[in-house]
């Protein structure tokens, strides 16, 4: 309860939590909330590029689709991509980090060297190249992003596991003959969950952003997906007249990513007492 009260006093973090909750609700209930849910795929050439009005608060796009509806419907795709990418990156990165942090042999050294190499790769360029090689689609974008994001988890888990390797409770477990997987996954992992959760929260926001870049460059979502990055790309031929076409999908990206980052920052302050003082 004390923790919750402390969190609630952190206004930016609460703002982040509210935004994240909003994005999640839109992702789940989007098709019921959107005023024109059929505009995910339909087109109405008679009402192309209408400026914002009472009927279309965010205006309409080049195919006459309601932009507000498409922004709402886009939340599901954005969240789906980022959850899948962060989930996959965790599934690769966390076990590797546990093994590398716990062991002292060649294997753990090798894992960390490979991690360093992947961290030195320019992530965006690598993701773009991979997405192109695999053929532009949402699936290859997700694969490319997961393949470039796992080292961040390995890094953190490695550091934290190394810190706990010599803890008394680990000694005790080794003494009573617990198996290594048991120590790693049932005892060390729960103790290092908070930094993983913080990293995952920030990673969700970051992935939404990079996925939008891929969509914008034509390496991710494909038409007629209601993808935010794709919409900004499509709007470029109609500027500056149809300013609403570019503005609102981009704002959606900004607000969603901002929400995850603010929440992640707030969580980090909460779980990491070392940083609390300086905040």
């Amino acid at each position: 309860m004390l923790v919750l009260r402390k969190f609630l006093r952190d206004i930016p973090a609460v703002l982040g939590a509210v935004i994240v909750l909003g994005v999640v609700l839109l992702a789940i209930f989007g098709p019921w909330i959107a005023p024109y849910p059929e505009d995910a795929a339909a087109s109405h050439l008679l009402r192309r590029l209408r400026p914002p009005s009472a009927a279309f608060p965010f205006g309409t796009d080049n195919l006459g689709r309601d932009i507000l509806s498409r922004v709402i419907l886009g939340a599901r795709g954005a969240l789906k991509v980022s959850l899948a990418v962060v989930g996959a990156a965790m599934a690769i990165g966390v076990p590797l980090g546990l093994v590398a942090g716990y062991g002292r042999g060649i294997l753990s050294e090798a894992i960390m060297r490979v991690t360093d190499v992947f961290l030195a790769l320019p992530q965006l360029i690598l993701a773009l190249a991979l997405a192109q090689l695999l053929g532009p689609s949402v699936e290859s974008a997700m694969l490319a992003l997961a393949l470039t994001y796992w080292p961040f988890f390995t890094r953190i888990v490695h550091t934290e596991t190394q810190r706990l390797r010599n803890a008394l409770f680990v000694d005790a477990l080794q003494g009573i003959g617990a198996s290594t997987p048991r120590i790693l996954f049932l005892h060390i992992l729960p103790n290092i969950l908070s930094p993983i959760i913080v990293r995952a929260t920030i990673g969700l926001g970051f992935t939404i952003l990079v996925a939008a870049v891929l969509g914008f460059l034509g390496m991710g979502a494909t038409p007629p997906d209601p993808d935010w990055g794709l919409a900004v790309a499509q709007s470029r031929s109609y500027l500056p007249n149809a300013w609403w076409f570019a503005t609102f999908p981009g704002l959606a990206i900004l607000v969603a990513v901002l929400g995850f980052n603010l929440l992640g920052d707030g969580l980090r302050d909460l779980v990491d007492p070392r940083l609390r003082r300086s905040r």
Partner: protein, 336 residues
């Protein structure tokens, strides 16, 4: 000191080799058979076989890799498919534009970020702090491609204050300067009209690119200053009646910038990667727009070379940052 630098350089070499291997494998493995792709749709098996032999694709993969390494050592990255020029030549010609853009962005990030960070720290937990915190998180959260389009729409299309794209206005030719840096060269040959024009073209891309760095610098300066403000010497100096402004902007700030300096080093690598998106929107003739062209046309030689170049820049900046720290703190020289 020389020994320290040498050790740092030697430590980087295995990472660079790893980088080469990963890139090579990714780009060679993914298209199932590069010879078939190169030969086109209507090629006969004999033609495919000829292409395979002439490109050395019939050799075992490790021989191909060694051959590639040999080329890299001679700075021979092969020929670009879309520009039909040697990749190394293209990169050498385009690198100055990218460096000019990233340096300008870095200047904006540091020049604004440090004062804003101090401002936030001095007003800790009051409204300027909250505002700057949200703004600095937003700076990282904003999609650069969207910001670029918004700025273009407002300042180039609507207000007409700044040019929409490119590095120079149409009709102007870059000066035949010695360095390849447009701003520097136009000054060196005394063409101030070119300098002004190039500067106007630089504003929007540099501002777009600087935002993420600005946010990071603000955050780290804020954290550093907050930390220093709690030190004993600050209490002492405050008690002895130092002017608060002088105290904060000179004594506290000087003691707080260590982490920020590290971030500046890290930022430079991030800026080069960020330039990919920014350059392609503003048609900036640098490495970034070149990379996007290469990716869109699946030009694997260019992709490989650019990935290596960025990896190399990361590595060099890392070494420089370590050396800078060792210069500041002699205790670090004996470690690592």
């Amino acid at each position: 000191m020389a020994g320290f630098v040498l050790r740092r350089v030697l430590l980087v070499l295995p990472s660079l080799l790893g980088l080469l291997i990963v890139c090579f494998l990714l780009i060679r493995m993914v298209p199932a058979d590069p010879a078939v792709a190169l030969a086109g749709d209507n090629a006969t098996p004999a033609q495919i076989e000829a292409i395979r032999r002439s490109y050395g694709l019939d050799q075992p993969i490790h021989v191909q890799f060694l051959r590639y390494l040999e080329g890299v050592a001679r700075l021979d990255f092969g020929q670009s498919q879309f520009s039909s020029r040697p990749v190394a030549e293209d990169i050498a010609q385009r690198l100055p534009a990218t460096l000019e853009l990233t340096m300008a962005a870095l200047l904006i990030s540091v020049g604004l970020g440090v004062p804003l960070g101090v401002l936030a720290a001095v007003n800790h937990n009051r409204w300027p702090d909250f505002v700057l915190r949200v703004v600095s998180v937003a700076g990282v959260a904003i999609a650069a491609f969207w910001l670029a389009i918004m700025l273009q729409m407002l300042f180039a299309m609507q207000l007409g204050w700044l040019p929409l794209r490119g590095q120079l206005s149409a009709g102007l030719t870059p000066p035949p300067g010695p360095t390849g840096f447009l701003l520097l060269d136009s000054l060196l040959v005394g063409r101030f009209d070119l300098f002004a024009d190039a500067l106007r073209h630089l504003v929007l891309p540099a501002v777009t690119l600087s935002l993420g760095g600005l946010a990071t610098i603000t955050r780290f300066t804020r954290a550093g200053v907050l930390d220093t403000l709690q030190k004993d010497f600050v209490f002492y100096e405050r008690a002895s009646g130092y002017a608060p402004r002088r105290l904060v902007w000179i004594y506290v700030l000087r003691n707080s910038v260590a982490a920020t300096v590290t971030q500046i080093g890290l930022l430079f690598g991030g800026l080069i990667a960020g330039a990919v998106v920014v350059e392609s929107i503003y048609d900036w003739p640098g490495i970034g727009s070149y990379t996007v062209q290469a990716i869109l046309t699946a030009d694997s030689k260019v992709m490989l070379a650019v990935t290596l170049l960025v990896g190399l820049i990361y590595a060099v900046v890392n070494i420089l940052t370590d050396v800078a720290h060792a210069l500041i703190d002699p205790r670090l020289r004996d470690r690592a």
